[in-house]
Point group: C2
């Protein structure tokens, strides 16, 4: 019996693998897709579970609708990462949106999602979407100030806080790219397990974003830690 294993300190979570559907290595990361017993198809990056067909909506909906519903009539939205397309799918439900830019560096990841998860990658089908195959930091540097109403960052796992995107320079670029009154949303791990210090994150945001900082959370059963979301708004 094949098992997919997620470890946390003192505990482990096993998913039964019915069949491995894809294994490959892109320029950036190892990609695996398997059919699970209870969660439909599962996508894994560098050994870390990314999403399952059964519960992905819980993450995608919260990452999208929390920020977009927190400001009136968002028009231009930038998604950094989120290459699966699920957040694009959710953004497209907002009629006020005219422009959806996605900055995703790994085209193999997109292709694998399109092949194995068409109900998620459907987000790319919206004509308002423009894909920028580029590094997030480089892309933000090219963006004129005050361009976006909302920026959603779904580009890295906060359990790896050493990731360069998780530093102040990246968020300063994000803040510059937001119009006054715009909103930024990022996943920031869980109140229950904190390799990342959420207090520290929120106070660093207070120096970068001028508006209110909110923290919200949802449950995604296959993330044993539960997913959480702070929102940072940049007021005028």
């Amino acid at each position: 019996m094949l098992l997919f294993i997620m470890y946390l300190e003192g505990q482990a979570h096993f998913l039964k693998v019915e069949k491995v559907l894809f294994e490959g290595k892109s320029k950036y990361q190892r990609i695996m897709v398997f059919q699970s017993s209870g969660y439909g198809k599962v996508f894994v990056l560098d050994g870390a579970l990314q999403l399952t067909e059964k519960d992905e909506f819980s993450y995608q909906e919260m990452m999208t609708h929390l920020p977009l519903c927190s400001i009136p009539a968002p028009n231009k939205v930038l998604l950094i990462g989120g290459g699966d397309g699920g957040i694009l799918r959710e953004i497209s439900r907002h009629n006020s949106v005219d422009q959806m830019d996605i900055c995703e560096i790994d085209t193999m990841l997109i292709d694998v999602y399109k092949e194995f998860f068409p109900d998620i990658a459907v987000g790319y089908d919206d004509p308002r979407v423009t894909l920028h195959v580029q590094d997030g930091t480089a892309f933000l540097k090219s963006v004129p100030n005050a361009t976006y109403d909302a920026i959603i960052v779904d580009a890295f796992d906060p359990i790896r806080p050493e990731h360069e995107l998780f530093g102040s320079p990246f968020f300063k670029l994000t803040a510059k790219a937001l119009r006054p009154g715009g909103v930024m949303c990022i996943q920031a791990e869980s109140l229950w397990y904190q390799p990342l210090n959420i207090d520290k994150l929120v106070s660093s945001f207070r120096h970068i974003f001028l508006g209110s900082i909110s923290y919200a959370w949802t449950a995604v059963p296959t993330y044993p830690r539960h997913a959480c979301f702070p929102l940072s708004s940049l007021n005028s």
Copy 2:
């Protein structure tokens, strides 16, 4: 290495056991207490995880404060089950409460909690508490109509819907014991995993309780399914 294992369909959740602290069999069930690596002490009944020191508060607080804060100034409260004492501890924070009855049949369970989980069993120390060592159904039959402002049922696991407490007769007795405008709260499993049909439960409650039926949920990391709570209120 010793592991405690919780199975669900197609998945398993393992907790690392540092040391088994107690194993015994009461008149009603097998009881085990172990020291875990990441969750403090863990209490297990008939092989099913009941609570851990790290996250028990999440369950106890929601089971208590959702119903008690939903009505003005609750005075008489009945807890059926909940022998660990954590819900009593939370009820005692409500100044309006003068009477806290707990109906728990298994005295060995109470003794084990008092020995190994003093911060939870502290709930028994409140002078407003009266312990009734009795079967919940038999106790409710002896209660005069319209006695309680709130009844909290923490007496069985909804993944065992065949349990006699999970039938209409039990809830009819509960409704009778509630004063008009009183409130009942019970744990009713998760929206994610439904061996129990929550729709069916809610519609059966609509026939028994005259007021509004609400459904709420929280996350308890060691319950891989997450805990959920419907509230039923009996209006005048």
